[in-house]
């Protein structure tokens, strides 16, 4: 399979947020600002690349009936590693997203890709799939974050350009996440 195609699939055809509709919980919860969305997307991408690669490497050593527990142990390990690394070396990110990092374990994108791709393809292809899906997720989260931050806080990546009186607080709150996500899904699927 062509590696470029795998990446393109992850971003467009199989975009985890706009097409597969996986991992909605972190999508809605962390995209209050563009920066948070980007950081969460990159964190998920890092975990997804590692887990996809490792799970693909050991796919023949994993008996079918225990594959889910094995996958979950691998995923949980990488998420915990990431969490410790962020706590130790990126305290600023930990302050903003610390609460959501452990939740990557239960992000269905990761288990979904392990099942649907890594368990059937070569390690390198799985790694590339991790990059593609990860990029798709990151782009979607950042886009959602940008829209919500502009409408809700009048800023992009923390740089405010709309006076506070014209901010629509709703978009920072949960309902704004659902509204924005709904419109973005509609637009992306129309354009596709």
């Amino acid at each position: 399979m062509n590696y470029l195609n795998i990446i393109k699939n992850g971003i467009v055809k199989d975009n985890p947020t706009f097409v597969l509709m996986l991992g909605m919980c972190p999508t809605l919860a962390t995209t209050t600002s563009a920066g948070n969305g980007l950081a969460m997307g990159l964190a998920t991408m890092a975990v997804l690349m590692c887990t996809n690669f490792v799970i693909s490497c050991m796919k023949n050593l994993t008996p079918d009936k225990v594959r889910i527990p094995v996958f979950i142990v691998v995923i949980a390990t990488f998420v915990t590693l990431l969490q410790m690394a962020i706590k130790a070396y990126l305290p600023q990110v930990d302050k903003e997203l610390g609460l959501f990092i452990p939740l990557i374990v239960v992000n269905c994108i990761i288990l979904g890709r392990a099942e649907a791709f890594a368990a059937k393809n070569s390690p390198v292809a799985s790694l590339i799939d991790g990059v593609g899906i990860g990029l798709g997720f990151t782009l979607a989260l950042t886009l959602l974050g940008i829209v919500r931050e502009i409408l809700g806080a009048g800023a992009v990546f923390g740089y405010a350009f709309i006076p506070e009186d014209y901010n629509i607080l709703l978009f920072v709150l949960a309902p704004g996440a659902f509204i924005t996500l709904g419109y973005l899904i509609a637009i992306v699927n129309k354009l596709k």
Partner: protein, 191 residues
């Protein structure tokens, strides 16, 4: 290579091996990061104390841990970092999303010099704004006030503007500040 059968032996073996290997990796990483994490925490606290005392250079002369009962008879723990300008007091209340741990700096008269949030789980974009909202020059500025009469939000008839759409966080924050003040005054009386 052929895929391993789902025999009982294989399953037990594989699951155990995976768990052990992952456990070893985690233990190694924990060992590697525990010192930097502890350092980060210490540095955050030291920076926090300097910041809330509005001082570039000062020494903490004494650290007191106070245990007081609140009006519901629940024990509350305060840590008072005494220094030459007054004291930085660590105080904890329940915010909207969970524990809200605040460090407040008082001069010897009990006037607020500064504050910082040590730990919080408030809503990003709303309650989380508390780290800036009550600072000097912001809308809900509390710097320079003395909580001898407890500080309250304007909705409760007080003099402090609450964070927009985050009254619960604002109340919790001011309660933490008031508690910190009381703990500091209490401790001074005992001295």
């Amino acid at each position: 290579m052929k895929k391993l059968d789902s025999s009982l032996l294989n399953m037990v073996l594989v699951l155990t091996c995976v768990a052990v290997v992952m456990g070893v990796i985690l233990a190694f990483m924990n060992n590697l990061t525990s010192t930097p994490i502890a350092q980060q925490k210490e540095k955050a606290l030291a920076d926090g104390i300097k910041m809330v005392m509005q001082a570039d250079d000062m020494t903490v002369s004494r650290i007191d841990t106070l245990r007081l009962l609140d009006n519901k008879n629940k024990e509350q723990v305060f840590v008072v970092y005494n220094n030459e300008k007054g004291a930085a007091v660590e105080s904890t209340t329940n915010g909207f999303g969970g524990k809200l741990r605040v460090l407040v700096g008082f001069d010897t008269e009990g006037t607020i010099l500064g504050y910082t949030l040590l730990e919080h789980s408030e809503t990003p974009g709303l309650g989380a704004k508390a780290d800036k909202w009550f600072q000097e020059g912001e809308k809900g500025c509390i710097i320079g006030m003395t909580p001898s009469t407890p500080l309250t939000v304007s909705k409760d008839g007080g003099q402090v503007d609450a964070i927009t759409a985050s009254t619960i966080t604002s109340r919790a924050f001011l309660l933490a500040v008031n508690n910190a003040y009381n703990a500091y005054i209490n401790q001074k009386k005992e001295d």
